[in-house]
Structure formats: structure tokens, C-alpha cells
């Protein structure tokens, strides 16, 4: 059974007022256990509205969200269960830190789960280790940390709930390239270790290339859904909804236009470099 199954989801904001706006329209989506899914789309395409339905923060105007085949809005208990089984890290999560110490802040989620102290302790230490947060900062105030460390502490706070599906909204926004790479590595490692599913909302096409599956949204609907290879072969469609191809894919496209015999579906820098070198190896200038 699929982990998440969304059927005919529609969400209309401010229904019945002049400000009425449909953010998500009649959307179907299934998410399986394991694997990293990238959710990409332009600002205002409905990504954030969609993810707020996954842990029952927003109630659909129409349609259902099934978690393990059960409607998450069935009862108060099922809503609460969804909050814990689906962990959502919102944009700039560091602004949610509030406890006196980093340790207490990471423990907030598990505490709400009513776990015993030993289990909470295990989870806090594990989550902190996953995001690369040194135990030395546990007793400090989260507000004293650096920006990157705050981000890690906030993400650890959600990881400590050990969700089956982890949703991250632009987790690397505002981080430098090294910090971004490092955080992504750690998130991928966490997913592997826990065999959880990760849904990554992003604008960054370089991050998108590293997902197992990509879902592209525009105007509240899913327009493309498939492997990165399949999605990036629709360059024109992506451009028409205001999204760019990853840089490597763009270069490959331009080279192909010039007559270079590059294989299709090149979208990572490594693969592109290899393909160009291979052409060179055969002798003869590629263009």
C-alpha cells in the first residue's frame, strides 16, 4: 500500500469572499515508502498548500488525503497521528526555535509524542548526530547558535519525531554552497538509514537532479511526474511554466543544437563531462 495517496485534492482560500483563490485544483498524487521525491514549481504554484495537507494543517476543500489507506481527517486522533508520522520542516525553520536549550528544543516534538525520558534522549542524540550538530551545543540557547547551526537544530527537532515521511520546504534556502551540500548529504543519509520517504520542495534544479522522482507543479496542478531524466527531457514545457533546466542539461541542449552527438538525458555535471570527454576521445572536435 502506498504511504500517501492524495485523491482529487482541491483547496480554495477565502472561499465565498472577493479574495477567493484556488491554490490546488483536483490533484492526484501517490508517494511510496523509500526514495526522495522532488517537488518543483514556480512561486505560487501551490506547493506549500499541498504540503500543508500532508500533515493535516490544512483541511481540503474537496478530495481526500490517505495515509496508509486511511483518511487523515477521519478523527482528531488520526489528525494527530498524521502530524507525527509526517514531519514537515517549513521554510526558514530556525524561526520556530523557542526553548531555553538546544536539547529541549529538539526534544519538544518527541515530548509531545508522550515518550519516556530515555527514548526522548536517544532520539534527540540521534537526530542531532544526523544533522551534524555537536553535543557540546546541547546546553546553549538556540538563539546563540550561528545561522547554519540554527537550521540544523530546527531540522533535528523534526527528525527526532522519526517521521515516516519527511517533507522539507526549501531546506537549503539561504545557506552557502558548502552548507547546502553538507545538509543535503546528511538528509540523504538519514533517509537511507531510516528507510523513510523524503519530499523535497525546491527551486534549485541542481538539488532536483539528485532526487529519485520529480513532481512538477504549475497553477495548482501536477504537470510533469517522473524520473529526473524524463522530466528534464521536457525542456520547453518547463520553460513555459517559468522553470529552468539544470545548468548541465542546458549546456547539453545547446551543444546538441550545435550538432554535437551527445546522448540524451544528461542533467548532472559529472555525466555531461563524461559524455563530452567521450566525444573527444573518439577524436574529432565535437562541433
Amino acid at each position: 500500500m502506498s504511504l500517501i495517496e492524495i485523491r482529487g485534492l482541491t483547496h480554495v482560500y477565502s472561499q465565498g469572499t472577493p479574495f477567493e483563490k484556488a491554490a490546488v485544483r483536483d490533484l492526484d498524487l501517490t508517494l511510496e515508502r523509500g526514495g526522495t521525491v522532488g517537488l518543483i514549481g514556480h512561486t505560487g504554484s501551490g506547493k506549500s498548500t499541498l504540503i500543508s495537507h500532508l500533515n493535516a494543517l490544512l483541511k481540503p476543500t474537496a478530495g481526500t488525503v490517505l495515509l496508509d489507506g486511511e483518511d487523515i481527517f477521519a478523527s482528531k486522533a488520526s489528525i494527530r497521528a498524521a502530524r507525527f508520522r509526517v514531519g514537515v520542516v517549513f521554510q526558514y525553520p530556525e524561526y520556530q526555535l523557542f526553548e531555553e536549550t538546544v536539547y529541549a528544543d529538539i526534544a519538544y516534538g518527541p515530548k509531545n509524542l508522550k515518550l519516556d525520558t530515555a527514548e526522548i534522549d536517544r532520539r534527540v542524540r540521534e537526530a542531532a548526530a544526523f544533522v551534524g550538530l555537536d553535543e557540546g551545543v546541547f546546553d546553549r540557547s538556540p538563539l546563540e547558535l550561528s545561522g547554519g547551526q540554527k537550521r540544523r537544530a530546527a531540522i533535528a527537532g523534526v527528525l527526532a519525531m522519526e517521521p515516516e515521511l519527511l517533507v522539507l520546504d526549501e531546506p537549503t534556502a539561504g545557506l552557502d554552497p558548502a552548507g547546502r551540500e553538507d545538509l543535503l548529504e546528511k538528509l540523504f543519509a538519514w533517509r537511507e538509514a531510516r528507510d523513510a520517504a523524503v519530499l523535497l520542495v525546491t527551486h534549485d534544479m541542481t538539488i532536483a537532479t539528485r532526487c529519485d522522482r520529480l513532481v512538477v507543479m504549475a497553477e495548482g496542478r501536477i504537470v510533469l511526474d517522473g524520473t529526473p531524466e524524463a522530466v528534464f527531457s521536457h525542456g520547453d514545457e518547463l520553460a513555459s511554466i517559468g522553470l529552468e533546466l539544470p545548468e548541465a542539461a542546458n549546456i547539453a541542449r545547446l551543444l546538441r543544437d550545435k550538432g554535437a552527438a551527445l546522448p540524451p538525458s544528461l542533467y548532472t555535471v559529472d555525466a555531461l563531462a563524461e559524455a563530452i570527454l567521450a566525444l573527444w576521445g573518439k577524436g574529432g572536435a565535437p562541433c
Partner: protein, 268 residues
């Protein structure tokens, strides 16, 4: 959710009322309130109501918007009515049951108090519906400027009010965001005892405080970067100017006050 609250909401428009100088509107609202308190007869209330209805019609404000604004007052209105109804003395008893007794005077008092509150609040709503918060602070600053002679920091006060008004929507948005984030971590804001619920607000209030201070810092820095300093000698982009419409409005305001006094005299 939180976004739906209408507190001093401004409905942009382009009517005579919208174009009046905010100082005029502020002063006339005061005249209107004073007139309401001078009313001594049913005729006076009718006159005030007529004035309110006329301004509402001219400014194209939907009566429904006014009624919607009055809804939160239901409790106060009922409370006032009940107090006046049962606790006014008098001889001509209308109704008596055990220790409860209602007199004609009480009934009259209760009805007139309710009318007065409703007219008063709708009048001030008309001011905020037709005048942007910035224009109101501007007008307040100009009207209070004589107090500068008494070393009252009028300019700073109006700047503070201005900034506070500007950041209300931002704060509401921020509250929504933090609420979502903490709910996602299993915060339970709806159930539990009063103490538990108050405790559950901490994860909401602390980040809100922290971000407010951060924002204040950033704003101060941004203002200093643009060489902002104090009130003395500043000019403004939009100069307030009285026009003939303002004079006409003042005349109508004076007529309203005079009318109310006259009706009181005549006892109509």
C-alpha cells in the same frame, strides 16, 4: 483563520468622504461623538442616525460591512442593556417578578444606551473604513503639533503608531507561520486545561517575540542607513491641504451639533 479579522480595516475608494482631509474627518468624528452625548431626545438620535446613513451612502460603504464590524460588540451591548433595564429606578413599574422589576424609565434608558453605543461605534468605523491608517496618524500628528511646545514628543509618538500599524499584518502572517511549524511538531493548542493551554502558547509567543525584536533591529538599521533622524525640519511627500469640501463638511458638522441641541431644547 487569523487573516479574517477586521480591525480598523480600510476600504480604499474615491468618494468625497475618502478625499476629505483626514484632519477634517478626525475632528468631525469627534464632533459627531460629542453630539451623540448631547442628545436629549429621540429626535436627536434620529438626526444622528440620518447623518450616519448619509455619510455611509456618500462614501459607498456597504451597510453590511458596518453591521459586520458591530458583531463583536454584541456582548457589551447586551450587558449595557441588561444593566440599565434592571437597575434603573423609577415609579411607573412596567413589570415585576420577585425581586426583578422593570420600569418605563429603565426601558427607555436601556434602549437609548444601546442606540448610542451602536451609533458611536459605527461612526468611528466610518472613519477607519474611509481613511487609511497612515492618513489618520498623519492627521493626529498635525492636530497634536501644538503640544510640541509642551515638549510632548508628538512626532515620535506618531511614528511609533505608524510603525505599529504597518506591522500588524506582518505579525499576523508570522503568527500563522509559527503556529503551523509548532503544530507540525505536535503542539496542541486546542485541548487541555487552562494552564496547559497557556503553557502551550509559549512555543508560539517566544519565537514571535524574538522575531519582532529582530525586525525592529533591522528596521532601525534600514532607517539609519537612509540617514533618518528625528522630526525637526522633515518635509513630507503628501502635504495635507484643506479644500472647500472640508469647509462644507465642517459646516455640516456644526449643523448636526446645532440640530441635536435644538431638538434637545424642543424635547422632540
Amino acid at each position: 483563520m487569523l487573516k479574517d479579522i477586521t480591525l480598523g480595516q480600510y476600504f480604499p475608494g474615491d468618494t468625497v468622504v475618502h478625499r476629505l482631509d483626514p484632519r477634517t474627518k478626525l475632528l468631525l468624528t469627534l464632533v459627531y461623538i460629542a453630539a451623540l452625548f448631547m442628545v436629549g431626545s429621540w429626535g436627536g438620535y434620529a438626526l444622528c442616525f440620518a447623518a450616519l446613513a448619509a455619510v455611509t451612502a456618500v462614501s459607498h460603504i456597504k451597510p453590511r460591512a458596518l453591521v459586520k464590524g458591530l458583531k463583536p460588540l454584541v456582548f457589551i451591548v447586551v450587558f449595557t442593556a441588561v444593566l440599565n433595564l434592571f437597575f434603573t429606578g423609577g415609579d411607573d413599574i412596567l413589570f415585576r417578578w420577585k425581586f426583578i422589576r422593570v420600569t418605563w424609565a429603565g426601558l427607555e434608558r436601556a434602549v437609548s444606551m444601546v442606540i448610542r453605543i451602536l451609533l458611536l461605534v459605527s461612526g468611528t468605523f466610518l472613519l477607519t473604513y474611509t481613511t487609511s491608517p497612515l492618513a489618520i496618524t498623519d492627521a493626529l500628528e498635525r492636530l497634536l503639533s501644538p503640544l510640541k511646545k509642551l515638549h510632548v514628543p508628538v512626532y515620535e509618538l506618531s511614528l511609533m503608531m505608524c510603525i505599529a500599524l504597518r506591522f500588524i499584518p506582518t505579525l499576523i502572517e508570522e503568527t500563522d507561520r509559527i503556529m503551523s511549524a509548532q503544530k507540525a511538531r505536535g503542539a496542541d493548542l486546542e485541548t487541555g486545561s487552562l494552564v496547559e493551554r497557556a503553557k502551550a502558547l509559549l512555543p508560539l509567543l517566544i519565537p514571535l517575540f524574538v522575531s519582532s525584536f529582530r525586525r525592529a533591529d533591522e528596521l532601525a538599521l534600514a532607517m539609519e542607513c537612509r540617514c533618518y533622524n528625528g522630526g525637526e525640519g522633515r518635509t513630507r511627500m503628501k502635504q495635507l491641504r484643506m479644500a472647500w469640501q472640508d469647509a462644507a463638511a465642517f459646516a455640516l458638522g456644526a449643523a448636526l451639533a446645532a440640530g441635536v441641541l435644538l431638538l434637545r431644547r424642543l424635547g422632540i
